[in-house]
């Protein structure tokens, strides 16, 4: 059964010095699911995502990704990771950036498809340092998904992207998820949360509540996700 989990986090804790970043977090993400990690800044979302790619080791507990205990370097070619800040080479063109990340992840081709997905194919020859923030964000997304990963980790992917394009990107995520790709996305944009199949609210390093958007609204007894989260955050669930 464990193979059906794309990510299986068991009782994970992490502290940086005196600061507790994660406190006994247990969560599972199904294959093909779009899972939203929600929580205010500094709540531990990025630390958790970094654990999924082995960049951060837990002090306690275990992280299993696609059936393999992390860290596992060989597995990383099946994972796509989009960091919070658009981590790109500013002196290279859009296409050069994307094809570099394709190559180091062992993918042949796919650059054009990735660029079309983020609507940057027309700008493929532009040098990244000349792009707007939103375009960089899209280029960074293309770099994360160019090798068609089974698990796509997106750390606040749509910051700076205009609403219209955000809707288009989410349509794309839905398509990828329907085709079997698991997507874990951190966000604090509530209309994005609405499009996730399941959500986890993280607060002060603890997983406060987990469930589908409907379940969470029902649990909090509030009509919108935004209100539900605010009320859950205040009461500590």
């Amino acid at each position: 059964m464990s193979d059906s989990w794309a990510v299986d986090v068991q009782d994970v804790s992490k502290h940086f010095g005196d600061v507790k970043a994660l406190d006994s977090v247990t969560l599972r993400v199904r294959q093909g699911e779009i899972y939203g990690l929600l929580g205010p800044n500094g709540s531990g979302k990025t630390t958790l995502i970094r654990m999924f790619v082995g960049l951060v080791a837990p002090n306690a507990g275990s992280v299993t990704v696609l059936g393999h205990r992390m860290p596992n370097v060989a597995l990383l070619s099946r994972v796509g990771y989009m960091t919070q800040a658009a981590a790109l080479y500013p002196g290279l063109s859009v296409e050069e950036n994307v094809s570099f990340f394709a190559t180091i992840n062992g993918a042949e081709g796919g650059v054009r498809a990735a660029l079309e997905f983020v609507k940057l194919y027309d700008r493929r020859d532009s040098v990244v340092s000349t792009l707007s923030g939103g375009m960089r964000q899209r280029c960074s997304l293309a770099c994360a998904l160019v090798h068609k990963p089974q698990l796509l980790l997106l750390d606040e992917p749509t910051v700076g992207v205009d609403p219209q394009l955000r809707v288009e990107l989410w349509d794309g995520f839905k398509e990828m998820s329907d085709a079997g790709t698991t997507i874990i996305v951190s966000s604090h944009v509530m209309d994005e949360a609405e499009r996730c199949q399941r959500l986890g609210l993280i607060l002060f390093g603890k997983l406060l509540i987990e469930g589908s958007p409907n379940e969470i609204r029902a649990r909090a007894g509030k009509p919108t996700l935004e209100e539900a989260f605010l009320s859950l955050s205040e009461t500590g669930a």
Binding site: V53, G54, A85, A87
Partner: protein
Amino acid sequence: MSGKRVAAITKRLLEQFRRDRRTLALLFVAPIVILGLLGYLIRGSASAPSVGIANDDQGPLGATVASALANSSGISTTMIQASDGDSKLKDGSLTAYIVFLSDFSSQARAGIIAPDVHLEGSQPGTVAPVLQALQQALISVASAAPAGQGVHVQPHVTYLYGGPGFDTLDYFGAAFIGLVVFFLVFVVTIVSFLNERSQGTLERLMASPLRRGEIVVGYMLGFTVLALVQSVEVLVFSLAVLKVHNSGNVALIFGIEALMAIAAVNLGIFLSMFARTEFQAVQFIPLVIVPQFLLSGILFPVNSEPKPLQVLSDVLPLTYAVNGLRDVMIKGADLSWGSLQLDVGVVAGFIVVLVVAAGATLRRRIA
């Protein structure tokens, strides 16, 4: 101009430095380290050029001049056999030797004062004190010549390396060719690798199946290509335009330069692990590069350094690189020379250590 606003800038600046302990330490520690080192190098070095004297004179004058030379303050003398002279020049224990041939006294009486002077010649700074001391010592002999007759003081001077036209640029040029490449490649590497870190792409690389060794070797090859092009340019300019003295094989010079460049790339990657900003990276120049430069023998020959510093010089790779380049360009060394094998071996060994160290410090885990 508002005093308040100016003060705000000044205050902000000082507050930033207060939190950046490293920069503060550098500002106050580096000058002491550099000046202290320089002072110790210059004041602490004891050595006057060591000169061997072989007195085969059958008359009394050779001994007279020899004792006058022994009393001169600018050089230190030892008595040797004329036949040992060349080998002592080659192994560096003498910078010159002077031979008074068997007919020195009789020639001097005939008005021709002609001792044989053999100079090592690779260090232009040591030639003048030797010739000056000899000149003064010979005055005592000149009076022995018959009055009313012209006296010809004609030391017969030969050079083991270089020659009378050998100047300071010839001496420094050989070492600087390598140093320029080493320094620039180091700076470019450390800053680019740091960019990789600060722009977040290193995190991305670490979240990919790339191995650490692949990153280090990839970087090494990339910068080596640039460094080799730069090496060719520096070499051609030095030899063709500046006409720096070269008695060695150009390909060998290029080979040593290439090794230095590769060492610099790896040193840059390695040290970039210990810097968080470009600012901190640049701080490695006074701490790592300048002391190495002072101790490498470029300005002050290693064997004239105070003993404790010689120990330090002996473990720094730049010392060997500089020595190797000088051996090739000034002395015409090739790879059959033991000293050059050692120099090249040490630099190559240093590269291996740095590649491993750079790979080991490049951590996949950020926490």
